[in-house]
């Protein structure tokens, strides 16, 4: 399974997997968490660390997870805490876990469940942490509702603060928390994107008629989001002017599954798709842009696609930038292969 690419491959995941998350709170090294998706086997969460020599990815911890993991997010302020969304049979659940102290053992150990985010009736889609650091709130999204939790990891407790209902909207699919504003999230449903105000749980401005699969906020510039859509590939929007997108990127030859801004160089976008490729884009957007580009100009722009990583065997559902070294990213293909790539060669070209 060894590809001829420059990427560092981690083959430790034995089962299919969908989610990988950067451990942002770990300041000392490039670390990722990946969870498997196996219906019948015991699922695992792998703590994957880039060795100090930056030559290989090593398993820094292997933990059993009772159910197959559909979503996994590392806590942005405590590197040992993470959340998962899982299914068991026909039921769904979401929980926050803590990696036990004696991590680093080669043998897998049990995770400590801090608390469960109960009360969901529908299919749970996502758990969102506020992306930039310490915040005592947590969001969980299911088909119909958005829950806002007040959490206390030390007390192992989570208290439901408020709840917003999708009402007439089609099923919710996921969302992203605005890094510039504690009170705003962008939630996507089957055919639209809405901004929610967490204080009032009101939905506001929206992108209609868009089959959005993923959304990501620009970490540096306010009001800029990127969406991965079925019809249009990747589009960048200014939330103050949602009539026309700022930029259109072609996306992938099949579904564009996910899109992520680089945490440091916000012009770099990473997208992964079911066509088994990861694309690296360079998109310059100024938040003070006077509006969408004039019709003629896009032709004169240089090709936004910097590189397409194609050395994958299966669809890719998970990508994560390393916040420790923003020139690195990890991708997880469905067959359970984690590949760490560096974008340095493309950074210099900028």
């Amino acid at each position: 399974m060894q590809g001829g690419s420059s990427g560092i491959v981690y083959g430790g995941l034995k089962y299919q997997a969908r989610c990988i998350s950067d451990v942002r709170a770990d300041a000392g090294s490039t670390t990722f968490l990946a969870g498997t998706l196996s219906l019948k086997e015991e699922n695992e969460v792998h703590l994957i660390r880039l060795s100090p020599a930056e030559s290989e990815l090593v398993c820094d911890g292997l933990f059993y997870h009772p159910n197959e993991i559909w979503d996994l997010k590392s806590c942005p302020f405590d590197h040992r805490v993470f959340s998962t969304v899982y299914t068991s049979g026909d039921g769904y659940g979401a929980a926050v876990w803590k990696i036990p102290e004696q991590s680093g053992q080669s043998n897998s150990s049990q995770l400590e469940q801090l608390f469960e985010l109960g009360g969901h009736t529908g299919k749970i889609r996502r758990v969102l942490w506020w992306p930039l650091g310490k915040h005592d709130k947590l969001i969980s999204i299911d088909d119909r509702n958005i829950f806002l939790w007040n959490i206390d990891t030390s007390n192992k407790s989570a208290k439901l603060i408020s709840q917003g209902s999708a009402d007439m909207l089609p099923n919710l699919r996921g969302g992203a928390w605005d890094p510039h504003n504690h009170n705003s999230i962008a939630a996507i449903s089957d055919s639209s994107l809405h901004l929610w105000d967490l204080r009032s749980m009101d939905k506001s401005i929206a992108i209609e008629h868009a089959h959005i699969r993923d959304v990501d906020y620009n970490p540096k510039k306010q009001n800029i989001i990127a969406t991965a859509e079925d019809e249009f590939g990747i589009r960048l929007w200014d939330l103050r002017r949602l009539k026309h997108p700022l930029k259109d990127l072609p996306g992938h030859s099949h579904w564009t599954w996910t899109v992520r801004h680089n945490p440091e160089y916000d012009e770099l976008l990473l997208s992964a798709g079911t066509d088994s490729t990861v694309n690296l884009w360079l998109v310059q957007v100024s938040s003070n842009d006077s509006g969408p580009d004039s019709p003629g100009s896009p032709k004169r722009q240089e090709e936004p696609l910097l590189n397409s990583y194609t050395d994958y065997e299966d669809s890719i559902y998970g990508i994560a930038w390393s916040s420790h070294d923003p020139s690195l990213f990890a991708s997880l293909s469905y067959d359970g292969r984690v590949v760490l790539e560096s974008v340095k060669p493309y950074l210099q070209r900028k």
Partner: protein, 771 residues
Amino acid sequence: MATASGAPQPAMDEKARRTRDLLASFYNTDPSAAAAAGAAAPASLARPSPTAAPASPLDSINSTSFDPEIYMNVLVQQSNLEGLLQRHVKMAAEIKNLDTDLQMLVYENYNKFISATDTIKRMKTNIVGMEANMEQLLSKITSVQSKSDTVNTSLFDKRENIEKLHRTRNLLRKVQFIYDLPSRLNKCIKTEAYADAVKFFTGAKPIFEAYGDTSFQDCKKASEEAMDLVIQHLQAKLYSDSEPIEARAEAVVLLKQLNFPVDNLKSNLLEKLEDCLLNLQNEPTQASIGDISKTFRAYLIIFPDSERRLIELAQALFSNRYETVRENLKKRISSTDLLAMLRSLWEDATAIDEVIPEAALPAFSLETTRDIIRQHIATAFLHLQSEISDALVRTNSRPNEKLDESQLQTAMDTSKIKVSQGCIDLLQEFHHLIDGNTELLVKLRDLIIDWIQEGFQDFFQKLDGHFHVLSGRSKSFPQESSALDSVQIDKVPTVLVLILAQLCVYIEQTTIPKVTEELASSFSGGGARSYEYGPPFVPGEICRLYRSSGEKFLHHYINMKTQKISKLLNKRFTTPVWIKHKEPREVNMFVDLLLLEFNGVVSEVKQILPGLIRRHRHSDSTGSTTSSRSNPMREDMLNRSNTHRARSQFLENHLAKLFEQKMEIFTKVEYTQESVISTVLKLCLKSLQEFVRLQTFNRSGFQQIQLDMEFLKSSLKEFVDDEAAISFLLKEVNNAAHERCLDPIPLEPPILDKLINAKLTKIKEQNQNMQ
């Protein structure tokens, strides 16, 4: 040595010169020169040189300082006897000559002296008696003078009388003239000698002014009446067009002399002309431009100061006429008609120009013609664009109602023909513009060529933009999208997008080369203006534009189709609860819908895109062989795996994949039926796989998927020849379902066959019922 050659020359002149010298010395005209010559001679003599010796005695003999002694001595010393004898003879002859010359001179002078004496003698005798004659003359003259004085004094009184009488007579004659004036004027009127009449009247005018109120009242009245008549006649003459221009001009002059307000007349006439010109505009057949130019000429002569007004009139006339031509442009007239109009206008302009060059009509015409032709070219392109667009929109609105078999194909063909024929027609139209030999067109030729080239460049670019608007892909043309409102954009027929894609290819591959060739052959040249950006028409750029647009449209088409199918699949996979699925009884309905959609795609694609070019079949065949070879093996594996644990199944699948050639699902799309169809199919099956992966199945759910895929496998064969990829993808779907199944036990093959056959017979029955 000098003498050897020079000696004969001086010898020839010797005699003449000496005679002259002698005479000169005789009259002593130049004593200094003679003295100098004399001084020179002894100097040369002093030098005893043998060659100079024979010359020196000859020189010195004529000089004043001639010394016979020395001469003799030299002669005797230098010459022999014979020489001396010769010299003697010669000298004697010379002396004789000189003597005769002298004698002649003396004789002549003597004669003159004699005749002078005679004359003096005669004068003396004549002068005697003159004095007496003079005195007699004086006395006579004094007597004449006294007599004349007496005559003069005696006649003085009478002369004064005569002069007075003469003055009276003149006055009487004048009075007579004035009394005669009315009748004379009438006579003039009768003979139409208006000039004389005016002359008479103006002559009498001061008198009338002075005494008109008193003595000549009647006379004045009568003559003024006559003059009124004259004025009337003159006016009539002026107004009548039949009169010769000179006569009319004269009439104006006469009227002016009579202090008649000519300006009013002029403005009246010009207004009349204006009306006439207006009529000409409305009914251009009525008067020819020749008449007008004649009138212009006449007025120019008649009223030399009316030029400005005439210029204005002429300019107004032409700007109005050009305006009508412009108006005609909107009605889309043919180039030949336009040219005819412009040419006639140009000719008219030149005709008028001959009369009043100050109006600068040719320049104006040229300018306007340029604008009009430019506008014409622009509108021609615009019309073509809208025609093409109309053709496209028409075709896309129709097939929604009933999807006839060859209808799309004909639509495709018509739009193709529209584009290429339109371009060719346009070129032919423009040909007329270039071909004309009129001076006008020759001047504009380069510009026209530039415009045409520019026009094509612009046209193709705009057309491309328009295509994008039509396809609904580009919403960034707010100014144009007002025509097609957003609702329409939202439901752009997919067929149209496909047609556009194919049209782009057609334009790129056929139309543009044709146009380029045509342009090169008949519209070369140009470059009247400097282009910093290179030539106006850049086929390469346009080709690139259309190639990329074509690809975009093709992708867009595929995208739209797969979107639609994807929605179908989405509904299929998200609605049921797969984990509580019931046992499969028949092939699911969604398969029918899916096949229906595929059928739709196939029928659209087959009509529009070019048919089979079996060249990539080759590259695909390798994949197909490997996968078909691996087919039974994997089938076995699947069957056997019932008992196996899922974990090993997963690994085995991976192993199998390892040995199988990596299937290229996302290949480049080409403009062929097969490529497009198989791309759509592949993308849909891939979506299917992804949808399956998002679900969790129970055994029955898995079996349902297995059944559906098995049926699809047999049905999809007829659509594509890229069987390998399809069966690979179908198997992937199966695998995905297998992976996502809690209890993956497949249907037994006999049951599978039975269910499929049941479905097939059902379809057959349906078809029969339909027929």
